[in-house]
């Protein structure tokens, strides 16, 4: 094992939920995905079902090999070819991390500090994430313990404070165009749960990595995330209106801006910035860590720590190099590109590996 640190199931849930909530808190690409009308919240709610389906292959795969994570499994099953798959995953983690890093920089330059160069934000964020990654998964998990209540409390607070601007009629009519666009939306939303890969990567570090516990973690993650996701989307649609909401770059931030209470609690988008930066930090460090961890396992290193700085440099470069601009970034995370792309990594490759494992009868069979 590469790291002695252990994390508890609750910490795992917190990390995964924070990480998954980061994108809805800013970009909210689901708004323009089908059904792209007032029914998006319904799609978000129903997404829990396809989510549980697509996360099954990676979980089943990793549970067959206790003490091994996804990349180690693929190496066990396929040898050299497994290393290629491992590299693909490292690339994927880097890409997710870089996307999120770039998003944080774009957010900072577009709203609060337009004159500061983008790379300054990227560097600062990468340095602080590198420091977390160096300290290891355990420290990141502890931070999630503190950050999750803050984020959860702030979201609820924002929604409560903005509720007087809400117009419930904006949510009507329900299922204007029938059920099928909603189901399509549920499917695309479910494909955004890349965090399942994070779970199957850190599984060996999990305290009590029994199959039952692992399934429960996933169940709770999906449940907690869906609850917050639906609350966010309901608030955004009810306050901004479904058509209007799609035009905002950062809908939830715009929502926070509308809060005005007793002439003193107003313009509190600073709160949004604060909680969102915390979330982004957790997400960037998580994928940064996974990339470094995966790479070190592929290279057969005893510890991933020597790779922290090189991977960090790669992350910053990728975050600048992958996207020309914010619209380009948004195009990639739109459902047309993202859903098939992510599904390959979330379900496709693990399903293939699972079939290989079953055919070659490797690993422990789960009941």
């Amino acid at each position: 094992m590469l790291e002695g640190g252990k994390i508890t199931p609750r910490q795992a849930i917190f990390i995964l939920v924070i990480s998954r909530l980061t994108i809805p808190l800013t970009a909210l690409p689901d708004l323009s995905a089908p059904p792209a009308n007032q029914d998006v919240w319904l799609a978000g709610l129903l997404a829990a079902v396809p989510t549980m389906v697509i996360i099954t292959p990676p979980l089943l795969l990793v549970l067959r090999f206790p003490g091994h994570n996804l990349i180690q499994c693929s190496r066990l099953l396929l040898g050299r070819a497994g290393a290629v798959i491992g590299l693909l995953y490292v690339w994927f983690f880097l890409q997710v991390g870089a996307t999120c890093l770039r998003l944080s920089g774009e957010y900072m330059t577009s709203v609060p500090m337009p004159e500061t160069p983008l790379s300054a934000f990227l560097l600062f964020m990468a340095v602080i994430a590198a420091s977390a990654v160096r300290n290891g998964l355990e420290v990141m998990a502890r931070m999630a313990d503190i950050i999750f209540p803050v984020i959860a409390g702030s979201i609820i607070m924002v929604v409560v404070l903005v509720s007087k601007e809400a117009d419930v009629k904006a949510l009507l009519p329900v299922m204007e165009e029938g059920l099928s666009p909603v189901l399509h939306g549920a499917f695309t939303t479910s494909s955004r749960l890349v965090e399942i890969l994070a779970l199957v990567m850190v599984l060996p570090h999990l305290n009590m990595a029994k199959p039952g516990v692992v399934w429960k973690i996933m169940l709770y993650t999906v449940a907690v995330f869906t609850a917050f996701f639906v609350i966010i989307i309901l608030a955004v649609i009810a306050v901004l209106g479904p058509a209007q909401a799609q035009t905002y770059t950062f809908p939830f931030m715009s929502l926070t801006r509308l809060i005005s209470l007793a002439d003193i609690i107003e313009r509190i988008e600073g709160t949004h910035l604060g909680i969102w930066l915390m979330g982004v930090f957790i997400k960037v460090s998580l994928y940064y860590y996974l990339a470094a961890l995966g790479l070190s396992q592929l290279m057969g290193l005893k510890t991933y720590r020597p790779l922290v700085l090189p991977v960090g440099a790669l992350l910053v470069v990728l975050s600048i190099w992958l996207f020309d601009s914010l619209p380009a970034l948004y195009r990639i995370i739109q459902y047309q590109i993202w859903t098939p792309y992510a599904l390959v990594f979330i379900s496709g490759i693990p399903l293939f590996l699972l079939v290989v494992a079953m055919v070659t009868k490797k690993g422990v069979k789960q009941p």
Partner: protein
């Protein structure tokens, strides 16, 4: 990076230690130099050891009548209770030995046993054959009695010297609660502890640390409550210390702490016996050092800085409220100058308009940018504080006048500093005193956050706070995560963090510390006053 430097320093220190140990073996006290049979030889040795030591008293005398036995006592003048020495040691030996029946037939073979068992009316008498240990005892304040013909000396514990009485400590004042504080004498301190916990499970182990000073250090813990591994770790770390002098517990703190490069102290200290007793009851270990009233406690958690003894003596609601005020004060003291700078220079849009107009009017015509202003005022405040701490009282007033009038009033009137900045700095300073245990760490964090805020605004502050959080979460104190029970979160321990639960509800000890003996009281002791009908019976 720090880890690498630390490792290098460690290697270097080990080398130094190995070298110095080989050089200094003489000054240690290895066993095996016995007390001589000949009194004259012993006397010569004692005189040689204590040559040029003006405070050493050597008194020669003879015991018994007829065939007298020669003897002498050695003690350090000023460290021995003279009355006890005269009444219970010299008088029995020189006078009573002649008349008392057991000593009548003075048998040279049994004289020492006779003296030890039936002549010296002193509780603490030890027979020691090792010459160097005898000398060590004398230096610690014991009185040594050498008797002709015996290869051992008697060490009588009749210490007595000038000490400060038990007073209320200045650093931790309370309105309600015990007012006694530790003193500079180790024995007094251990007795203060023993009086709080009258239980044989309170173990107090002593050792000597300091090549030159040979300072007494005591490790106190509650057996069965404290984690044995932590106790063993404390012993090990203390034993490894090789230092020439220990003048204050702060010396030891730096040798046993887990994070030498952190601004946060991972070893706690207090002057109050009731605080130490409470910590022992929660499963901590205390380290008492002779010569200082400050007692160290480990493991130490970050949250302990926010808990005050009085929280537990007053009613829980107010204690909870005050505890939240302390959290707020800590946030204010580390972040308010940074927040002020970022709000006035980067994010004016976040302040409500009327408030912004007021602040902008106050800053009108100030020649410095807000971050420079804040930095200047911060440094001036630190100077004022440092000047005020050690000043004799009559001069102290001058400081207050200069500080309040010249810097406060005149700088604003002259238009050098904005009046809102003075308010922010004053708030920072006062809030800093609320959590005094972390005030030095807070000063450092405040400066870092200020610099980050000046450079990057709110983003800078967030990066700084996240960095702080990473640091806090990565620290450990004797195997316990420093930031627990918040990170890692231990929900059941929040009863004594976010609120101060009533005593009858705090059934369990903190999980991170006392996990192997968790229950500290019988559950379900919530007061249950009789119902109305029964209450009326009292009035009849």
């Amino acid at each position: 990076m720090f880890g690498k430097i630390a490792r290098k320093i460690k290697v270097y220190l080990h080398k130094r230690q190995a070298e110095s140990q080989s050089l200094s073996s003489g000054s240690h006290y290895p066993p095996g130099k016995p007390v001589s049979v000949s009194l004259t030889a012993n006397l010569d040795r004692v005189r040689a050891v204590f040559s040029d030591c003006a405070d050493i008293v050597i008194r020669e005398f003879k015991i018994g009548i007829g065939e007298q036995v020669r003897a002498f006592v050695v003690f350090v003048d000023g460290m021995v209770d003279k009355t006890l020495l005269h009444q219970n040691l010299l008088k029995p030996l020189m006078l009573d030995a002649r008349i008392s029946i057991p000593n009548q037939g003075l048998n040279r073979q049994r004289v020492q046993e006779m003296i030890r068992d039936s002549t010296l009316t002193i509780a603490d008498v030890k027979e020691i054959a090792d010459f160097d240990r005898v000398m060590e005892g004398v230096l610690s304040g014991d009185t040594a009695v050498f008797i002709d013909g015996y290869s051992a000396a008697l060490l009588a514990g009749i210490r007595g010297w000038e000490t400060r009485g038990v007073e209320q400590p200045d650093t931790e004042m309370v309105v309600r609660g015990p007012r006694e504080g530790f003193t500079e004498t180790l024995r007094t301190n251990t007795s203060l502890l023993r009086r709080k916990i009258k239980n044989s499970n309170l173990k107090i182990e002593t050792m000597k640390i300091g090549r030159q000073t040979r300072t007494d250090v005591a490790v106190a813990y509650l057996k069965g409550v404290a984690n044995d591994k932590v106790v063993e770790e404390v012993r090990r770390r203390l034993k490894d210390i090789d230092i020439d002098g220990v003048l204050e517990s702060g010396y030891l703190e730096e040798y046993i702490e887990d994070a030498p490069f952190s601004p946060f102290a991972t070893v706690g200290n207090t002057e109050k016996p009731d605080v130490v007793a409470a910590k022992l009851l929660e499963g901590r270990v205390a380290i008492l050092v002779d010569g200082t009233p400050f007692v160290l406690t480990v493991p130490c958690l970050f949250i302990e800085s926010f808990l005050v003894a009085e929280d537990y003596y007053s009613r829980p609601y107010y204690a909870t409220l005050i505890r939240w005020i302390r959290f707020l004060a800590f946030l204010l003291t580390i972040a308010s100058p940074a927040a002020y700078v970022t709000l006035t220079t980067f994010h004016q849009e976040m302040i409500p308009t009327p408030l912004f107009l007021t602040v902008a009017a106050a800053r009108e015509g100030i020649p410095f940018p807000a971050v420079v202003e804040a930095l200047m005022m911060g440094i001036i405040f630190e100077i004022l504080r440092e000047a005020g701490v050690r000043l004799p009282r009559p001069v102290g007033q001058a400081i207050s006048i200069v500080g309040a009038l010249v810097i406060g009033e005149m700088a604003v009137a002259a238009g050098l500093i904005g009046s809102s900045m003075v308010i922010v700095v004053a708030l920072t300073a006062i809030a800093g005193f609320v959590v005094s245990a972390q005030s030095d760490a807070a000063s450092i964090i405040r400066l870092i956050l200020l610099a980050l805020a000046g450079a990057m605004g709110q983003f800078g502050i967030m990066v700084g706070l996240l960095g702080l959080l990473i640091h806090l979460c990565s620290l450990r104190s004797f195997g316990v995560p420093f930031f627990s029970p918040l990170g890692p979160l231990t929900v059941q321990d929040l009863k004594d963090v976010l609120v101060r639960a009533p005593w009858w509800a705090m059934v369990r000890r903190p999980r991170t510390l006392g996990w192997h003996n968790p229950v500290r009281q019988t559950p379900g002791q919530k007061p249950d006053p009789p119902a109305d009908a029964a209450k009326e019976q009292f009035h009849e």
